[in-house]
């Protein structure tokens, strides 16, 4: 009877998990059980967020599931050991958690974050088999390499159209016309080492500020961040990927400004900084829009 009393003294885990011993011992064992259970749960979460997971990807072309991004094979420093006497090892390509948006208790892992390695992998693996616009450049165009970046334009336009699902998808011909008007299909200037900030770079002529905003998880963008460096803007693939993403951001901004879904021509006007002047009537037909409109007409 005394033993039975001892049993009921402990009110530990229920559903058959109780401990038939002293209260102190019961508490100790129950804490151990909790830690073990916690580890199990943590492992299962890890499995859930790992590469072989059921969590959806933001896009079928992506290498990692939502909330994670691809990190390519890289060297890393470890504690020197028999296996790694020099304290260096190779970490193979893997998925890593996305950074957090916000700080403290409000911090939340961002859903979509893409870095340069993954953008390069996507272009390499996915774009070769795609077909459709942009149209080949008219013979009168003076650019020697005007069709050289068609696969990148086609691929990234499809990718961002799939992500954002606009009512009127972005036309790859418009992206091609934008590149013609901005850089004349010349991705690399004479001197790429220039540190001058505020100037435009690469095929789509992104600025340092644009590149910063695209990758800033605590900035203006709410999701679908693109992380790259200033020098990456000279890379045609990364320039088209980031520039097209930026165009979608400007379309969203223009739609908010207009109170209706903006057209792509209005999105381009916003991209070029002309939209407020067009809306107010102060600069209804800016000369800076002539170039892209002419190129676009010739491609359609």
């Amino acid at each position: 009877m005394a033993k039975q009393k001892l049993k009921t003294e402990h009110s530990g885990p229920k559903n058959g998990g109780g401990h038939w011993g002293t209260r102190k011992e019961g508490k100790r064992l129950s804490s151990k059980a909790r830690r073990s259970q916690g580890r199990k749960e943590s492992k299962s979460t890890e499995k859930l967020t790992g590469e072989s997971v059921e969590r959806p990807k933001v896009h079928p072309w992506r290498m990692c599931s939502e909330g994670r991004h691809w990190v390519r094979t890289h060297s890393m420093t470890v504690e020197p050991s028999e296996k790694h006497p020099d304290g260096k090892t190779i970490r193979h390509g893997h998925c890593a958690d996305n950074p957090n948006r916000g700080k403290g208790k409000k911090a939340k892992t961002v859903r979509d974050y893409i870095e340069t390695n993954e953008m390069n992998e996507i272009a390499k693996d996915q774009f070769g088999s795609l077909k459709g616009p942009p149209a080949p450049a008219p013979k009168e165009w003076p650019y020697k390499s005007s069709d050289l970046y068609d696969d990148l334009i086609r691929g990234w336009t499809k990718y961002w159209n799939d992500i954002f699902h606009p009512s009127y998808p972005l036309d790859p011909n418009l992206v091609k016309a934008l590149i013609a008007s901005e850089s004349g299909f010349n991705p690399k200037p004479n001197d790429q080492s220039t540190k001058s900030s505020g100037k435009a770079r690469g095929l789509i002529q992104l600025t340092d500020q644009t590149i910063r905003i695209l990758g800033d998880v605590n900035g203006e963008l709410k999701d679908h961040y693109v992380k790259m460096s200033r020098d990456d803007a000279y890379d045609p693939n990364l320039s088209v990927a980031a520039g097209t993403r930026w165009l979608f951001y400007k379309k969203e901004w223009a739609s908010n400004k207009l109170g209706r879904e903006a057209s792509w021509d209005e999105a381009i006007a916003a991209y070029k900084g002309y939209l407020p002047g067009i809306i107010s009537g102060k600069n209804p037909n800016p000369t800076g829009m002539q170039n892209i409109r002419k190129h676009y007409q010739e491609l359609k």
């Binding site: 003076p142 080492s193 600025t207 002309y274 407020p276 002047g277 800076g288 892209i292």
Partner: protein, 187 residues
């Protein structure tokens, strides 16, 4: 008298390579350099774009975006003008900032050349341009502008009908140096 003749001969000998050098760029690249360059431009300036562009013969009446040409003017005939407003920078965030649309106007005989940029910018850009402009043009007589030709149109400017040729400019150059809003083009 003979000394005078010798001096004149030597003077001509010295002048002829100089004269041919001045003329040679226009003669060699008539579709890239449309005027006398007054010793500002180099062969490199002519061939810079040729690695990725095909030469298109220049026709003043046509809209020919894509292939840039050089033209040089007396500095006194060239004037940058800036239109400003409050707006959102196309390359920036959602905040309203001072924006500017920069044009460079060049007077040439009956024609006014209007060099514009492919986009409007945060006002800092125009401030930067003004600084570069002052530095490049101070005590200089001529300036060369590089741009892609657009329409030739009749416009009414201050009550007067004028023929205006539009250009999308990329860089400007004097004997003091070069400036562009594109990174790495002039550095």
């Amino acid at each position: 008298m003979r000394t005078m003749q010798n001096f004149f001969l030597i003077f001509l000998l010295c002048l002829s390579p100089l004269a041919s050098a001045i003329g040679s760029l226009v003669q060699k690249y008539p579709d890239i350099l449309l005027s006398n360059d007054h010793g500002i431009l180099k062969e490199k300036d002519m061939v810079d774009d040729l690695s990725y562009k095909k030469v298109v013969p220049y026709r003043i009446n046509e809209d020919q975006p894509g292939f840039p040409r050089w033209q040089c003017f007396p500095v006194k005939d060239v004037k940058p003008i800036v239109q400003t407003w409050r707006g959102v920078d196309g390359m920036g965030g959602d905040k309203e900032v001072s924006m500017c649309d920069l044009h460079i106007l060049a007077e040439a005989k009956e024609l006014l050349h209007d060099y514009f940029e492919p986009r409007a910018w945060n006002y800092n850009h125009c401030r930067e341009f003004r600084k570069a402009w002052n530095k490049l043009t101070r005590n200089e007589s001529f300036i060369c502008l590089n741009g892609e030709p657009f329409l030739l149109e009749k416009e009414n400017i201050k009550g007067v009908d004028r023929m205006v040729k539009s250009w999308q400019w990329t860089k400007i150059k004097t004997k003091k140096g070069c400036y562009s809003y594109r990174a790495g083009v002039c550095e």
